[in-house]
Symmetry: C2
């Protein structure tokens, strides 16, 4: 029964994707605009559905921090409405040629962006994905199956119905955006077998979920693994700048994947930097865990163990290690990091170049906060996630990354071998 | 034992890939150039190794056509030397920024091409892949594990050793290009589990091999499935052009994936086109298999069954179907084709646009032969294969498609939230 349900959704999505791939930008924007309006009009109903989820989660014994996470109240709804309006303003990537060349024989070769087809989103708790991913997939001409966490099923079902109404009003196939309305875990694995209908899977959530999806899926997956992000403060660094960037990277949003988890400090300036940096971090409520050399300078820091270098805290904790220089810093990042987002604070040109080329991360920052690892900040608009993969998309995944391309080759009777 | 062997190769490849990612273009070109020279100098030894493979294959009862396929003689060696010299001339994609923007806050955001890491090639019979894929992966800064078919193991091992010498002379890690020297089939499946060390798998060969790799692999795969390629001759077509393009697309290289397999003809011109086109095809040795309407015009054609529309002949056979117009042609291609390479011959602008946007194939041609679906012909240089995937790379896969990217973000002390 449930197997057929998921298969049915996927088949409908495939059929819708064919129509969507040719849908004009205006139509897609209209659906997103109507959705924004419907979120506004249905604020109370959304909150009610979400409160129902909250009660069920509490009754089911979910931890309070997780119950908080699935809350979708007035402020979050307003922020989604704003996000939808921003997505409307983004350039539609579909149909735009991103290169045109003329070959010596006169053939014109155009590379044109086309949608991927059907995208399967598999995510935990936060219902904002139901709105965001729906809009980004639609704008890029893809149909999407949204499979959110069971803890927010009522919120997601309600949002899915709003999408249905918005699509209908815009004259687009209702199967363009579909919420999987079951909570059976087996349905996730069923989705991952449907490589005939689903072209790409994007899992969002804990490492365990993503790993399981990766290992099970027959469909290509864009992974969003953890961010064990570093800042290396070089001996030439401006110390005030180093403190300012470190604080922004650690305390602005400690719960996000691009927050700094480990600070690496050149031994030559550790004595100058760590006392004041440590003081500021402490004042902000950050717990420090230092290596031996770091604790000689700031003895109040806790002792870091090997486990600390490979831990994504997502919390007000920072590990600190004193290194012998740029070489050891790069080595540390390569060995313990997750190739996500890493920054250097330095005034030394050669060391900056070494860091840029030597650190193999999706986003490498020079004298800037790791908080800038964000689709909007990098100029691509809203993002559907941050890829830790190197295949297809890396770093923030924006509209263009949700597309593929085709070559359109135009001749005037061209053949390879003239007879 | 063998499990450790493959794991060992993969680990060495990963270590080599780190060095290779920073190797200067000159060094990579030097290795390719030395390889070209070694192919020249070792022609006889290569032929001997290849003859040994031939004897074993024959003794093992392999069909003569397959024995012929694995032959790697003087002409093929010469053509590989030429291909290597062409790869040397291609622009190194690594390190080149493909976009640079300045954000309103003054941040500079560069997107820089980087290698993918370690590529696993899994292929059947033809030893030219050992040379081609080795050179393309090297030039794009990737280490590669080459797992060729057991029928050409002696040739491949010998070519692998030449690569080792060439890499050594160029001062590059020997593990940059490694031939898997065992013939145990299990080793293929072992490779596909090593997602910690291998970043991308490219299978080349029959549909069965590719499907098995796809379903087993934990590593992202770029598939090279079959090409069921069509030419649609519109009612407005120039008939001479239609015949010329059809002949080129069918008979120049019937054995390649982008050869035409099905000809679709608008019913309005079927009576004018098919008699002369049929005559020319027949004269060239092509067997025709027609639908009912086609056989009313060329009664000597065999009867096409439903199976014909979904068959990649790779042979001097052509299926012919008369359709009611552009709509039915696009529908046929969508239902029976493989989204590989499809062409229209037409003078009608609206129909051409309909075909360009309505046919969802990697390469769509207008008034040009399907033989132009080729990396060289499309201006990207040598190709490692033709992808039927939409993720990462589609159509001919060239040097640039063997890369990923990173964002390099440069500020002057930028933080998201000024305190």
């Amino acid at each position: 029964m449930s197997k057929e349900y998921v298969l049915g959704l996927a088949k409908e999505a495939k059929a819708a994707s064919r129509i969507l791939s040719r849908a004009p930008t205006n139509g897609k924007n209209k659906a997103i605009s109507v959705m924004a309006q419907k979120l506004e009009e249905n604020k109370n109903e959304i909150r009610e559905a979400n409160q129902q989820d909250g009660h069920l989660a509490k009754a089911g014994g979910l931890e309070q921090s997780l119950v908080d996470r699935l809350k979708f109240g007035e402020a979050k709804i307003a922020s989604r409405i704003k996000a939808l309006r921003e997505i409307i303003l983004l350039t539609d990537p579909i149909g735009a040629p991103d290169s045109v060349i003329k070959r010596p024989n006169g053939l014109e070769v155009k590379r044109v962006r086309v949608p991927i087809g059907v995208i399967g989103m598999i995510y935990e708790s936060r219902p904002h994905v139901t709105i965001n991913a729906g809009a980004l997939c639609l704008k890029s001409g893809n149909a999407v199956l949204l499979r959110g966490g069971s803890e927010t099923i009522n919120t997601n079902i309600f949002l899915g119905r709003l999408w249905q109404e918005a699509l209908k009003e815009a004259g687009l196939p209702k199967a363009s955006i579909q919420v999987v309305e079951t909570t059976d875990h087996e349905d996730v694995w069923r989705m991952l077998e449907l490589d005939e209908y689903i072209d790409l899977v994007i899992p969002r959530g804990g490492k365990r979920l993503i790993k399981a999806v990766r290992e099970t899926s027959r469909i290509p997956v864009i992974k969003h693994y953890e961010g064990i992000c570093h800042i290396f403060v070089d001996s030439s660094a401006n110390l005030d700048m180093a403190i300012k960037i470190s604080l922004d990277s650690k305390i602005l949003m400690p719960e996000v994947c691009n927050a700094m988890e480990t600070l690496l400090v050149d031994e030559q300036i550790a004595g100058d930097l760590l006392p004041s940096l440590g003081k500021e971090m402490k004042a902000a409520g950050v717990t420090l865990r230092g290596c031996k050399a770091a604790r000689e300078i700031i003895p109040w820091a806790e002792e870091a163990t090997g486990q600390d270098w490979v831990t994504e805290y997502l919390d007000m904790i920072l590990s600190v290690r004193v290194v012998s220089g740029i070489g050891e810093a790069i080595e540390h990042i390569d060995s313990y990091g997750s190739h996500h987002t890493d920054a250097i604070v330095s005034e030394n040109f050669t060391n900056i170049r070494k860091f840029e080329t030597g650190v193999d991360s999706a986003v490498v920052l020079v004298n800037a906060s790791t908080m800038f690892c964000d689709g909007g900040e990098l100029g691509m608009g809203a993002e559907i996630g941050i890829s830790t993969d190197k295949i297809h998309a890396r770093g923030p995944v924006g509209l263009r990354d949700l597309t593929s391309y085709k070559y359109v080759v135009t001749g005037t009777g061209h053949v390879v071998e003239e007879v």
